[in-house]
Symmetry: C2
Subunit: 172 residues, 2 copies
Amino acid sequence: MYGTILVVDDNAAILTAMKYLMADIFEEVLTTTQPDDILKLMAQQSIDMVLLDMNFSLGVNSGQEGLFWLRVIRKHHPDVPVVLLTAYVDISLAVKGLKNGAADFITKPWDNDDLLRKLKDVLDSADEIATLDEMEKDHIRRTIDRCHGNLTQAAELLGITRQTLYNKMKRL
Amino acid sequence: MYGTILVVDDNAAILTAMKYLMADIFEEVLTTTQPDDILKLMAQQSIDMVLLDMNFSLGVNSGQEGLFWLRVIRKHHPDVPVVLLTAYVDISLAVKGLKNGAADFITKPWDNDDLLRKLKDVLDSADEIATLDEMEKDHIRRTIDRCHGNLTQAAELLGITRQTLYNKMKRL
DNA sequence: GGAAAGGTGTCTAATAATTAGACAATCTGC
DNA sequence: GCAGATTGTCTAATTATTAGACACCTTTCC
């Protein structure tokens, strides 16, 4: 079981269907047709995943509103994976969504087993947490690489002294 | 000017065209038709960006080989942005590429100005480097969120003591 | 070719952070 | 309501970070 999921879709019938489907793998399934409620709901309780429809206003299929809410969620809860739901095979929307931090992408109509498997995959891969040391080591290596090996410059970008950078490199 | 770019494409004519085009914004343009050479070239000198064709073997259009080399590059040089080049509008390949860490996506045939603009965008946005403190703050907030506020558990996952976590939270 | 500027490796002594360990006071699950 | 976990706070010992300095290499540029 995977905690709590929030499903956002302007179609109440889809939400009902989702509720029954999700009940198999989630302890709690929240739904709303109002994207304005997303932040309120996420503030009230800890939510482990959001399934977000990309088309809210009927007739407006650009996905702009979905992208807007995706950004809002990512900004306030960068740790919560967001899976997008769209009725259209639209490469540009897929690219934009993933570049804005969506964890995955599902097209309507969906296959139930496929949907559940994707959600599971996202949650399983989200469980990997690095220690601060590992995080630090990665970021230091990346920064030094980007400075083409210039340790003085790397230390400055990292906001630490050159000596401290030496120490950390020795240890890691 | 933006340093060094490596262009990988099995079509030598495309590489020649790229060389002239890229010369405008890159100090050095490396090209190869052999993906096996990528790591060797990247080891020999510091490369700031890779432009990677997704279809190497003629007749094999699944993009699997391109994805393979993308993963190889990302694994050995996670800091170097990779832009993909594909002849086909394929949502599945776009999604897979971006999920494997590609910085952007360009379809053949390309518009020269559009291509250069995208490459510039990628390099400009790649310049943002966070200090260790910012990095740490982000990771701590993410981890605490994922532990649903349990500080004892978060500290353990982060590999630090609970008291140190308190200290860091006070400071940041 | 040689001077100037910048980067490296290393040191010291003062300051600040992290640690293990402990404690009573909540909070939670059963 | 009770047991186990979590929290907030403390101490004293250990360890890391800092600013500043120094001689020694590389690059860069005239």
